[in-house]
Each structure stands twice: as structure tokens, then as C-alpha cells.
Amino acid sequence: MMSRTSYYLIIAILFLLGVALMIYRNVFFEVPLMPSETREIWSVEAKIKFTAAKEEAPVKLSFAVPRNQKGFTILSETPSSPGYGVNFTEERNQGRAVYATRNATGAQELFYTVNIMKDPMAKDQAVTVPKIRFSDDQDVAAQARNAIIASAQSRSADTATLVTEIFKIVDSKDQNANLLLKDTAKSALLTELLLRAQIPARVVNVLYLKDKRRRQELNDCVQFFDGDRYYLLDPETGDIGHPEDVLLWEYNSTPLIDLTGGHNAQVLFSMAKKPVPVKNALSEKFKDTGLINFSLDLLPLEEQAIFRDILLLPVGVLVVVFLRIVVGLKTSGTFMPVLIAMAFMKTHLLVGVVGLLLIVSIGLIMRFYLSRLNLLLVARISTVIIAVIGIIVFLTVITFQFGITEGMKITFFPMIILSWTIERMSILWEEEGAKQVFVQGGGSLLVAILAYLAMSSLIVQHLTFNFLGLQFIIGALVLLLGNYSGYRLTELKRFKPLVDEMQAEQVAGKNNDSRDA
């Protein structure tokens, strides 16, 4: 009894371990459970131009750069600037790239390139809530501001509507607004009004991400907070929300460029978008994290491709185990169908099945001739192997001559396994007749096709490659099937006449009994 307990314990542990590993990959590495997801990666290049103030003089330029924020994860950033040394720093929570050189003369060009992934699960490390601060002056401007706020407050119920009302008043160019807009920019005015209305707000510099744009500038935008969440107010249109394609570039009311030893600084942006398979995007995101990353993505591409195939085998094996133990299909050679299915993966189904049938039937014909030569078994099988290779070469050349390149793929068939299959089938034919050959051959082909269908599913391929935990789950299932002592599907058919007969007899027996009575 002890062994039974440990058996179930092992299955449970394997299963839970597999599930836990899958959850770990899914949650911490954000590997999606479904394939074919892509993420957008934006490549943004900032080009900073300025003129050095003196000849051969030191220059220092500090440039605000974006950090991880809601909707975006920074994958990599590269400053390129001939003759400059570059540091990255944080200043009042704003990322900055600091370029410095000892001797600059004339026009200067600095570059900063950043790759940003659109990422719904990005961790927001950039944004802090600003403190509410404003001057207590009691001048005409202050009265105008208070009037706008009072008017807006009377028509609003919550933060969102209050912001909208304030914007409406400013945008309507009424008397008070006009007065204030004379010496304040619209975004700055809106921010000040919001602060006075006790709504944390600041002016931020945002970049509108538009594919293949060049010579773009940053735009002013009002960022205001409602509790922990922030929203952006477009000072031109009054739209409130968090548009997907808006990247906060400078977000802490710090200067975009802080230049000493130069003047006429100007920055222009160009950007391009590329969709990248989610895996590649994520492997960059987690390149440097301290999480235990036991992932095949770390291997060279060639090895990855090999493991992609190898890790599918257990799925095929599971199909075979199920079909043999629960369904009860007969196959020639236990795992021969899986190997055939692996070959189908390379050839695709139709070409694979036709190629297999051709090879096996031509091989069988040859084998019938060989059986008359009274050869020893090993020599005979070896002959069949050579014959199979010959058939494959022949078929490949012939199909190529006809311009069917698919024919070339039959080289993927496992030749030694095929030779043994031919040998076994030929013996089966001699001993038990053609019917058994078709039953077992058909069974093997059916299992191979089902295993192929399971293994060729994109979802299965994605799961087996990205979630090694799945292997544990398959292992647990195979172990569990190893203890299946129920009837096979084929047995339900095999014993059907017997059961019917026995029941008929029982009924007849009862009738007799009643007659006797």
C-alpha cells in the first residue's frame, strides 16, 4: 500500500510542480499562454543640435530621457555622440543622459536612441504625484483664476468634470482666460488652475508615437492626478485620458535640456515601429532581471530549434500512450508512429503520408523478392535499409524533375525505423495474412497522424517550448495512465457479442425458470 501512496504523491508533486512552473513563467516572465502574440517595439531617436559657446571649451549637456511608465517598458537605450562621454543619472526621479566633453567647437550633434516596448504590464517607475503649490498673491490675475475655478466648481461633480469645466472656460477665451493667457502658456495656465483647485498636476513633455515620422518635437501636455492614477489633458483639444501612443518623455517639470557651454539647443525626434514576437521582446525585457530564468531562449538559435523538436516528442508519446492504453489501437512498433509523426512535421501531412505509403509499399515488394533468397536476418534488414535509401533518392529525383520540390522532404523519414517496419509487415503478411498488415499498418498510420496533429498545433508548440513545466504535467499524465486498469475502447467492441449473448441467456434462463414454476 505504501508504494501506491508514494505513487500518487509523485504524480501530484510532478503535476503541481509543472503547474507552478507554468504559472511562474506566465506571471513573472509574462510569457503568454497563447502563441502568435506580437508586441510593438518603437525605436525613437532624438537628435540634439546646439552650438558650442567658445572654441575648444568644455560642454555639458543634460538631456531628459524616458523611463518605464504605464504602457511602456524601456528595452534598451544607446547614446551616440562622437567625442562625448555619457552618463545616465536620475534627477528628481527623471532619467537623464548627461553628455560631457572637454573641448567642443562650433555646431554639435548628439544622438540618443531608445527602444521602447508597448507593454500593458509595464511597471510604472517614472511617475510621482506632484505637491500642490501655488503663490498667494492677491492681484488681478489671482482674482481671474479664482473666478474661473469658482465657475467651474459650480458646474462639476468630480475631478474629471472639474478638469473638463476648467478647460472649457480657458478654451472659450472668456475675459478672465484672455487676461491670463496674455503672459502664460495655455498648458501652464491649466496646470496652475488645477493646482489651485487642489488637483495635483504638472506640465509634461510627451512624444506622440507615429510610425515613420521624422523631425518631430515634444508636445506640452497637462498631467493631472485623481488619487494614484494620472490622466493626460491635451491643452489643444481638451481630450482627457491616457492615449496608447503617447510617451511621457519629460515628466517631472525638469528642463528637457540643460546645457552649459553652448546655446541654441534644439531637439528633434524620429521614430519607427516594428512588431516583434512577444518572446523576443520579453527576453530583452528580462535580460538583466535577477529572476531565475530557466529558459531555452538563452540558448543559441540552432540549439533552440533542436529543442523545439525534442520537447514535442513527449506530446506525441502521450498520444501513443493514450491510444494504446485507453483506446487499444494496435501499432507495429510501440513508438514508431511518433517518429513517423516527427517526419510528418517536416514534410507536412499529405506529402508525408503519400511518401510513407510509397516507400513502404515499394519496400514490401522488394522484401518479398528478398525473402526468396534465404538471407540471414541482419543482412536482409541491411539490404532493406539500402533499398529504402535508394527508393528515397529515386523518389526525390523523380519528383524534382517534375518540379515538385515537396518530394525532397521525404529524406526526413527515419530510414532504419522504416526498414524494420517493412520487415515486420512483410513477416506479418506471410504469417497472418494481408488483413493484419492493413490493421496494424493502418493503426500505426492513424496514430502517427493523430500524433502529428497534436504536435503540429501551434498552441502545443508554443506551450512545450516556452513552458518547460508542461513536461512535468505530461510526465504526471503518462504515469497516471500507467495505472489505468479500466477497459480499452477496443475491448468494449471485442466483448460486445459475449455480453449480449450472456444477457440473452440470462433472460432465457429466467423465462425457463418461470415456466418451470
Binding site: Y484, F495, V499, E501
Partner: protein, 323 residues
């Protein structure tokens, strides 16, 4: 759409009758009761023969054994002027690779179906056996050449060509079910039910036929000879059961199929043991194995030590059909 379902019975009905399925056999009986290390004793007929002789169990006499390819030439010498013999792979399964020669005509040897073989045909067959063509997993094999069994006259007309053998399933030394397998023209002289041999369920108490089936369907007469199968009664039944039962002590295997032939001179002889006996015997008997096996498991829990006689007594009383 579900029309194909009418070809299938419900698993609950099968379980109610106690029909043993392949999985239950492997998982609950073969695996726990048949220690793996004892398999070579039954998988290799030469070894079976050796221990059988040691335990005093009657077996067909061995003419010779060929172990290597270079010995194939000595075959003719080995058989001398015998006109009948039987060539077998030591590790064959399911009756594969058994060649029966029943006579000679000039240089030719005759199979039971009168087909003629040359000495070359037989030597090729021996080479095939040695190379492992009929053994499990293609392992190199040995060839046994045995004296032909002259089956008891009471079986005249019951079998077409082949030797009618009695299969007794023995569980922990208790005979639990038995049948006789009669070869037919369809089965090419072989005794395997799935190849078309007739299976006759036998009453464990008397050795009398209960019913007969071919290809899963009941039959009353032998399809080739027309003899009434329900008249069949195995003679020396007590001795057959004793022979079968003693195979448990001899082999140490808890769940075995014993194949027994009745020689008209030497009586019951053990032909071979099978550590993975098939399920068709249930169809021949119209009875499930599981209730009988469970009864014995329960019995042994209370009284693990029983003699051969006691075990046979129990089986005859509880599993017999006729008095």
C-alpha cells in the same frame, strides 16, 4: 451520428460480469504476481523444459537444439531418419515460427497441410529463428527440435492438422479457467483464436465442453471436420489439472497460462508456459476471470498454505459447471 456506438458495450456491463481487460491483467495480475526475473524461465522454452524435468513435469522429448548458425548444417544429422518432428524457436511468442513436419516424401518434408518443404526451406527457417525473427524484440534465439506429439485418439476429428492443446489459466496454483484450442483450416494449423482457431470452454470440474467459439461467435461443429464440439471431453482431467497446478511451484509465477497436450502414450504433457495469457478464454467460457481471481485472493488471505490437491479440489468445486 452515434450509430457506431451500437458496436460497443458499456464498460459497466463488462465490469459487472467480471470480464478481465488487458489493462487490468497487466496492471493488477501480471505485474504484481509475475516477478520479472522469472520471465526467462517461460520465455525460453529450453529453460522451461529444464525446470520441468527437474520438477518431474512431463514435457515433449527434445531431439536436439541448435544455438548457432554454423550448426544449421547438422540439422539433417540430428533428425536422422525421423519422419516427423517439430521445429520451434525457444523464445517465440504466440505460436510464431513453429514448423511441424509430419512425414517425408522422397527428399521432401511434409507439413500437416501436405505442403512440401525441401531441406533448404527448413534450414532457412532455422536460420530465421536463430537471427531472432520470431523472438520478442528480435533477440538472437535458439532452435528446439522436438518429437512430434501424437495426440490422443479421443481428439480425432476435433482438430484440423494441428495439435489440440488445453490452456489452463493458473492463478497462485489454482486452476481458474480452461479451454481447448482446436486448429482449423483458417488458422493454418495454429492454435491461436485470433487466427481462426476454435476455442472450446471446458468445465473445470469434469473437462467437458461448455461452449465453443470461432472468431468471437458460438459454433457447434468443427468448421472443417463437422464434429459436434459439445461432445468434447478431455480425458485424464484430474491429471491435467494437477500438471497445470504444479506449474505454479515449478515456475514461481503467480498468473500463468499453461498449455497442455495429451499424448496418446504419455498422457498430459506440458507444452509451454505463458506469463501473459490472453483474454479470449473468457469468450470461450462465457465467463469473466475477475470474480474467480478475487475469490482466490480472498481465500489466500485467510489460508495462504494449501496443497496442490486442496487447490484443485477448491477449483473443481467452485469454478466447475457440471457436477
Amino acid at each position: 451520428m452515434f450509430g457506431f456506438l451500437k458496436n460497443y458495450t458499456s464498460p459497466f456491463r463488462l465490469a459487472k460480469i467480471g470480464i478481465m481487460g488487458m489493462n487490468v491483467r497487466n496492471c493488477r495480475y501480471i505485474s504484481p504476481y509475475n516477478p520479472r526475473e522469472l520471465y526467462p524461465l517461460v520465455d525460453d522454452k529450453l529453460q522451461t523444459k529444464k525446470i520441468a524435468i527437474k520438477y518431474g513435469v512431463t514435457v515433449p522429448a527434445l531431439i536436439g537444439c541448435i544455438r548457432h548458425q554454423y550448426e544449421v548444417g547438422s540439422f539433417r544429422e540430428m533428425i536422422g531418419d525421423r519422419t516427423e518432428f517439430c521445429v520451434k524457436p525457444a523464445q517465440g511468442s504466440g505460436g510464431k515460427g513453429i514448423l511441424v513436419v509430419v512425414g517425408r516424401s522422397g527428399d521432401h518434408y511434409l507439413k500437416p497441410n501436405r505442403q512440401e518443404l525441401t531441406i533448404l526451406d527448413i534450414e532457412r527457417h532455422i536460420s530465421n529463428i536463430l537471427a531472432g525473427l520470431f523472438s520478442l524484440g528480435g533477440k538472437l534465439d535458439k532452435v528446439l527440435i522436438e518429437e512430434l506429439i501424437h495426440f490422443d485418439n479421443v481428439f480425432d476429428g476435433y482438430s484440423y492438422e494441428g495439435v489440440p492443446d488445453t490452456r489452463v489459466i493458473v492463478f497462485k496454483g489454482f486452476p481458474v479457467m480452461s479451454m481447448m484450442r482446436l486448429s482449423t483450416a483458417r488458422s493454418d494449423g495454429k492454435a491461436n483464436l485470433h487466427q481462426g482457431a476454435v476455442g472450446v470452454g471446458l468445465c473445470l470440474n469434469t473437462g467437458r465442453a461448455i461452449r465453443a467459439v470461432q472468431f468471437n461467435s458460438p459454433v457447434h461443429q468443427h468448421p472443417d471436420t463437422g464434429r459436434d464440439l459439445y461432445q468434447l471431453q478431455v480425458p485424464h482431467w484430474e491429471r491435467v489439472l494437477k500438471l497445470a497446478s504444479s506449474c505454479y511451484e515449478m515456475s514461481g509465477l503467480g498468473y500463468i497460462g499453461t498449455d497442455i497436450v495429451l499424448d496418446r502414450d504419455k498422457g498430459p504433457m506440458l507444452l509451454e508456459l505463458n506469463a501473459r495469457p490472453g483474454l479470449a478464454i473468457q469468450i470461450a467460457n462465457a465467463a469473466g476471470l475477475l470474480p474467480r481471481l478475487r475469490a482466490i485472493e480472498k481465500l489466500l488471505k485467510d489460508d495462504p498454505r494449501m496443497t496442490v490437491e486442496e487447490r484443485i479440489e477448491y477449483s473443481r468445486k467452485n469454478f466447475g459447471v457440471y457436477r
